[in-house]
Amino acid sequence: MTFIDYYKILGIEKKASAIDIKSAYRKLARKYHPDLNPNDADAKKNFQQINEANEVLSDPEKRKKYDKYGKDWQHAEQFENAEHYKEQSSDFHGQKYSRAQSGGDFSDFFESMFGGSANAGRNRQVKFRGEDYNAQLQLSLTDAYKTHKQTLTVNGRNIRITIPAGIENGQKIKISGHGGPGINGGPNGDLYITFSIANHPGINRLGNDLYIQVDIELYTAVLGGEITIDTLSGKVKINVKPETQNGSKVKLKGKGFPVYKTHGQFGDLYITYRVKIPTNLTERQKSLFTELSKS
């Protein structure tokens, strides 16, 4: 656990006045507030640091303790004990009012020097909605193809969610009320889940359409015939037209990916044929091809 220079974090000098601190804090808070920097982990971290610095430096008691011990913060507890008796005769600490800020996590240094969360005692009169949580969930393409239920553990709580078929890679869904607990009886925050869908070998997805490449024998390509292919919905039989060219495409309507939250509606499946040229020909086969080439 390392010492944190709160003055440096706020970019102020040690002799800074309360007004200087407030002004420096507000300036940096406007820059790094998570609401102003959506999905920016660095900004959130910076905001937590300036919030913590402000928490200490804007409170005369905490600032005094911090200034006195600074790098020798490990001895702060002795200071606390000594001061405890002095404070018992004075019951006024000022009922400081401040709104809850997102990013209320404090460093180990802060916890060690000042005890638990600084928010604990300061929002007695005010209800706040809890913090929103963000989580990421990995799914396979096969999982995303079907509506299914999954149980997630978020901060020790099990949450059973239904994931509708057709969810896209990078899509975010909101689970209301499963974020952080509300403060002083306020509503819970929400849980946002971002889905990460792994690529499936041999099947590519673009929106609701699926793309696959299918190898066919030269003879089937020339003469036509029936082939069976594997799709996410099972095996499908296809008639290959005679004289099918290498790289030609066919579309199977409604055999693609389910459309998100639209029951019974599917994208299309596009098949690209790759004609396999026979190898290791026998003498007889070679002569037949030669004959064919002369015809």
Partner: protein, 104 residues
């Protein structure tokens, strides 16, 4: 509006009391098209869905000293960021599709 379930609505007065703010702030937000306030039986309500947004505006105005014009601008820019982030996700998906096609 009357048909809305009561669970989906939050009394504007209650919100203001809980956040220690003036109802006039909510009126200002409404006048600037930043939130919608419903009136049922002469009482004002905001939709629960608007709560995260509304709390954001409270933070901006009261904690960060951002005025209403600033909130309006930020709100517009945040919407653009969200749209762009969604666009990036779509483009990444397309790129990954073409990469897979090319190597496939």
């Amino acid at each position: 509006m009357d048909a809305k379930r009561k669970d989906d609505l939050i009394a504007a007065n209650e919100f203001c009391v809980n956040h220690n703010i003036e109802i006039s702030f909510l009126n200002l937000l409404q006048q600037n098209g930043l939130i919608e306030i419903s009136t049922i039986e002469s009482k004002y309500f905001v939709e629960r869905e608007q709560l995260p947004q509304l709390e954001k505006f409270v933070h901006f105005y009261y904690d960060l000293d951002i005025n209403l014009e600033g909130i309006e601008t930020i709100s517009y820019l945040l919407q653009r960021i969200e749209n762009l982030q969604n666009e990036i996700v779509k483009l990444k998906n397309r790129l990954s599709f073409y990469d897979a096609q090319a190597s496939g």
